[in-house]
């Protein structure tokens, strides 16, 4: 397994983005409990890994991440990029108190942001479509992923409220949990 094929535009983009998103992650006031933060960081990492090794590899192989179809260590760093995005999706869902009236707009907004980021990633040679794949298929991917993430967060908050263990934990705004 190589670190990367050649160190150029896509590797610089990934390293810069990693610094930006993780600095943002540590700079933003902590509004979510530690275990929810941890869960959604892993959620983002796993989702990107799952898609890449399912529709982005194997028999389907709809896109290539970075310089080759082989597993490079820079690919692993690419998946880490998605962890803070998943966290911020839930973070702002909580901060903006998304409800029945705003749910659809919130998911649509994040899907548009996701598509724009994907095009930027294509421009920076991080993602390369192949096997007839195009942006229109990513619309389905983003809508399904973000709707699932939002509904799953709702499920967690409702369950914790029902059990009464940590309503304050999940909904607290004191920023120190």
């Amino acid at each position: 397994m190589k670190l990367w094929e050649t160190f150029d535009k896509n590797e610089i983009y990934i390293l810069v983005m990693l610094v930006v998103v993780f600095v943002a992650f540590f700079m933003f006031p902590k509004k979510l409990p530690r275990h929810i933060t941890l869960l959604f960081l892993v959620w983002g990492f796993t989702t990107s890994t799952f898609y890449d090794f399912t529709i982005g590899g194997g028999l389907m192989d709809f896109y290539k991440v970075n310089d080759s179809n082989k597993y490079e260590l820079i690919d692993l760093l690419t998946y880490f990029l998605f962890a803070p995005f998943s966290y911020f999706f839930v973070y702002f869902y909580h901060r903006f108190r998304i409800d029945r009236k705003t749910f659809i707009f919130y998911v649509l907004g994040w899907s548009i942001l996701g598509l724009l980021m994907e095009q930027l990633s294509r421009f920076m040679d991080m993602i390369h479509y192949q096997s007839g794949y195009s942006m229109k298929y990513s619309i389905a991917v983003f809508l399904v992923t973000q709707t699932t993430t939002a509904l799953f967060y709702e499920w967690i908050t409702r369950q914790q409220r029902r059990t009464g263990v940590s309503d304050d934990v999940v909904k607290s705004d004191n920023g120190s949990v």
Binding site: L39, W43, F50, G57, Y71
Partner: protein, 157 residues
């Protein structure tokens, strides 16, 4: 037929997990599932596609069966084992649950070769057993991490 067998196994493990008495919370179960899924995906990719120790099918339905095993059967079975393991404190209970899970997981992987879904080139069920033992231990470590994070959150309130 291979697809049907693995579809049935997938349905079975999900159903068992859905109806069983769970010792872990929703957050803990999800966290462990995600960690095991990442390890399972990466490990299967490295041994099959990078190191070519296992040959995978080129046909769509057997390949889907392989994906179901990698992404659903393995993580959910490990999760079932962890919930059973946490039900009692006795050492033999915990060791027994881990060994049973290792045997089941190794058996299912062996079934994949018996049904010609995958074939071992430089691999054998012994390596599978070691991998699944380590995978179950990884689940225990993941659980202790999220459990500690949850405790801190609850203690704070």
């Amino acid at each position: 037929m291979t697809f049907s067998i693995f579809f049935f196994l997938t349905w079975l493990v999900i159903s068992i997990f859905a109806v069983m008495q769970k010792k872990l919370s929703l957050v803990e179960n999800t966290f462990v599932f995600l960690v095991i899924l990442v390890v399972s995906i990466n490990f299967s990719w490295i041994i099959a596609d990078e190191l070519k120790l296992i040959t995978l099918p080129k046909e769509k339905l057997p390949y889907t069966a392989y994906l179901m095993n990698r992404s659903i059967i393995i993580p959910v079975l490990v999760l079932i084992q962890l919930n059973i393991c946490m039900a009692r404190d006795a050492f033999f209970w915990k060791a027994g649950s881990i060994l049973t899970a290792v045997l089941l997981l190794t058996g299912i992987n062996y079934l994949m070769t018996a049904l010609n879904i995958s074939s071992y080139t430089n691999w054998n069920p012994g390596f599978d057993a070691i991998y699944f033992l380590l995978l179950n231990l990884t689940a225990l470590i993941a659980y202790s991490i999220i459990d500690r994070a949850s405790e801190k959150a609850v203690n704070h309130t």
